[in-house]
């Protein structure tokens, strides 16, 4: 799609004339949506006696359940089916797509990268977040650093990627530098720094830095809340028993926030497994930086290979299944004790 660039006067006129129908559409959609609900409410509220509860369930729960069935449950089952078919879904091919996913040389890079992401990014984000949470607990004015470090979480991965792509911008050492990283490397006396985003495997780690930059604030805020929730008498008792510094941290603080640590870690793990926007915006998956979620999109919507794309989606799904099971078990436990 090639963008065209109209002159300013034309643009202003077309911009306004383009925008009004868009806003109109949105308002119409919202009005219709809420009018329908009001109508259904008025009609359903007239029900009397025994029919009351079934009608209420149908009206309240029906739309959400229907949308979930059409939008998530049915497509997920369909994707599993498609993963056993060929590229245009016309022929059953058994496990061929999965065989391709685990043996193809290009796919091997994708899988290795994804495993590296999973092994490194969540651990680094969580431990750095924990360290900051502990340090920040000892500060007087904690709200400003907390806000600033949490801020990347509000920015889109696309925005974060552009911010960091600029940091990683490479120019020949003889030229004036505009990328911060290269300039710092030169200042530190590194005569010939590498072309950051083109250097394999360094580039994959540089992309992880973007993810860590986003997630550390999240980990820090959550863990900080958990640390503050530890009752003060426990800490006091431990201190009276002579626990200080790292011992206090290891034997008292960490066990008490264990559940929160697991939640933070698995949350970041899932986000990392599905990382898509960062790779797509910074390198487009080139220079051996491809990961599973982006390759899934490319196979499905660029290569139009429904079979391979679906197989990669299924691999992603299998990857999150342990977390899904763990979460459900935790929720059951929580509800049982309530």
């Amino acid at each position: 799609m090639s963008p065209h660039f109209p002159s300013p006067a034309v643009l202003n006129a077309t911009f306004i004339s383009d925008s009004i129908p868009k806003v109109g559409q949105m308002l119409t959609a919202l009005a219709v949506f809420f009018a329908v609900f009001l109508l259904v409410f008025l009609l359903a509220a007239r029900a009397k006696g025994k029919a009351q509860s079934p009608i209420a369930i149908a009206v309240f729960l029906g739309p959400a359940v229907l949308l979930l069935l059409i939008g998530l449950v049915m497509p997920a089952l369909r994707t599993i089916t498609l993963s056993f078919f060929n590229s245009d879904s016309s022929k059953f091919v058994g496990g061929l797509n999965f065989g391709w996913a685990f043996t193809d040389p290009d796919m091997r890079t994708v899988l290795i990268n994804t495993v590296l992401w999973i092994l490194i990014a969540p651990v680094v984000s969580t431990s750095l977040g924990l360290l900051l949470a502990l340090l920040i607990d000892r500060m007087k004015h904690e709200s400003v650093p907390k806000s600033l470090m949490f801020m990347p979480m509000a920015i889109s991965f696309v925005g974060a990627s552009i911010i960091w792509k600029f940091v990683y911008d490479y120019r020949d050492p003889a030229e004036k530098q505009i990328g911060l990283l290269n300039q710092v490397a030169l200042w530190l006396g590194w005569k010939h720094p590498p072309n950051w985003l083109l250097t394999i495997p360094l580039n994959t780690f540089l992309l992880m830095v973007i993810m860590i930059w986003v997630q550390v604030g999240f980990a820090m805020v959550v863990l900080s809340a958990a640390i503050k929730a530890i009752p003060s008498d426990i800490i006091e008792a431990a201190s009276l028993d002579g626990a200080t510094g790292t011992k206090l941290f290891r034997t008292v603080t960490v066990p008490l926030i264990r559940n929160t640590l697991i939640v933070v870690f698995t949350t970041i793990l899932i986000a990392v497994l599905k990382i898509f926007d960062i790779v797509r915006t910074t390198t487009g998956g080139n220079f051996s930086t491809e990961v599973l979620a982006n390759e899934m999109y490319t196979q499905t919507f660029t290569q139009f290979d429904n079979g391979r794309g679906s197989a990669l989606a299924v691999i992603l799904f299998v990857g999150v299944t342990p977390v899904l099971v763990y979460n459900v078990l935790q929720l059951r436990k929580e509800r049982a004790t309530r």
């Binding site: 919202l30 359903a44 958990a226």
Partner: protein, 326 residues
């Protein structure tokens, strides 16, 4: 503490305790670690964390020639200022511009219904699951909860086939409404997709809150003969405002920042695509035109930043509860 219950779940941390606990614990722990050193480390890391964003902002307000020929850090010794990058990237009035204005509008058009639709549907479903007893209630709740973690990638292709009327199972074509082909409603597929994908989290979050409302209220209302619909409007909605606000803000930012769903369901160029999709393309197309790219990126992140800094309390709560989404 009902407000915090919205986040108390396996997907969220325990709520922070009232201040009096805090003082005690940090006072005791302070003795174990020297406070000035901690402060210095935190300040250093905070500065490191902020520098990349500052670099982006400064670059976006420097003239093109300065951006191309010197680092943004020289701004402090040789300040120069212009808004030309913004007008160029926003309106695209020269050949290098990005024409982001229509995409900016698209982002709002996608995001507002993308947040309000699931909010309405989910608050109703949450009420039914919490206060209308029926068989299978627990199963439905757990199923919806489990769906939170399922990757969106599992849905993309089949859902797109449904929207485009190309859905077939084992060679049999199954007719579906061709929602992606309604020319006067081009946003419909992306609105519906965002609504569907938001529901598991929204129902779970709002259920946790609504289920904690006092039982007496509902019993008294039922005794007085109030219908479920009346109870929902007069009791549930007004009392759930904090949870509704948390989710609304979370979902607004999620949709605004999303790339995957919009690439799949809103691929209609200037007429439908949001800012994220456009910026992701420009990163390749603009190559080294950093003055435009940084201005464009700043336009895209300023909205979430305003929401973040003005509604931080609600935002953090919603975000913490919803961080495993999609």
């Amino acid at each position: 503490m009902t407000v915090d219950s919205a986040t108390t779940s396996v997907t969220a941390p325990p709520p922070s305790k009232p201040p009096e606990h805090r003082e005690g614990s940090s006072a005791a722990m302070r003795s174990s670690f020297s406070s000035p050193l901690a402060s210095i480390i935190v300040v250093i890391i905070t500065v490191l964390w902020t520098i990349p964003t500052v670099g982006l902002l400064i670059t976006s307000i420097r003239p093109q020639s300065d951006v191309a020929n010197s680092g943004w850090w020289t701004f402090f010794t040789h300040p120069s200022f212009t808004l030309a990058n913004y007008s160029n990237v926003f309106s695209g009035n020269n050949s290098g511009g990005g024409g982001l204005a229509p995409f900016f509008v698209n982002s709002f058009i996608i995001t507002i219904p993308g947040a309000l639709f699931p909010l309405a549907l989910a608050s109703m479903a949450a009420y039914a699951l919490a206060w209308v007893p029926f068989r299978g209630n627990t199963f439905v709740f757990f199923a919806i909860f489990a769906l939170q973690v399922v990757p969106l990638q599992m849905s993309l292709l089949p859902l797109l086939q449904i929207f485009t009327g190309n859905f077939s199972v084992f060679g049999f074509h199954i007719p579906t409404p061709h929602l992606a082909g309604i020319s006067w409603m081009p946003y419909l597929p992306v609105w519906i997709a965002h609504t569907m994908f938001a529901l598991p989290l929204a129902v779970f979050l709002l259920h946790n809150f609504i289920a904690q409302l006092p039982r007496d209220l509902f019993e008294a209302a039922r005794v007085d003969g109030a219908s479920h619909f009346l109870i929902f409007r007069k009791i549930v909605l007004p009392l759930s405002t904090p949870a509704i606000a948390s989710f609304a803000i979370f979902q607004f930012l999620w949709v605004w920042n999303d790339l995957l769903v919009s690439l799949t369901f809103a691929g209609g160029g200037t007429s439908v695509e949001p800012l994220t999709a456009r910026l992701s393309q420009l990163t390749g197309a603009f190559g080294s035109k950093w003055e435009l790219l940084t201005a464009g990126a700043f336009i895209a992140i300023i909205v979430p930043l305003i929401v973040f800094f003005s509604l931080q309390r609600f935002f953090v709560r919603g975000l913490l509860a919803g961080s495993v989404k999609g």
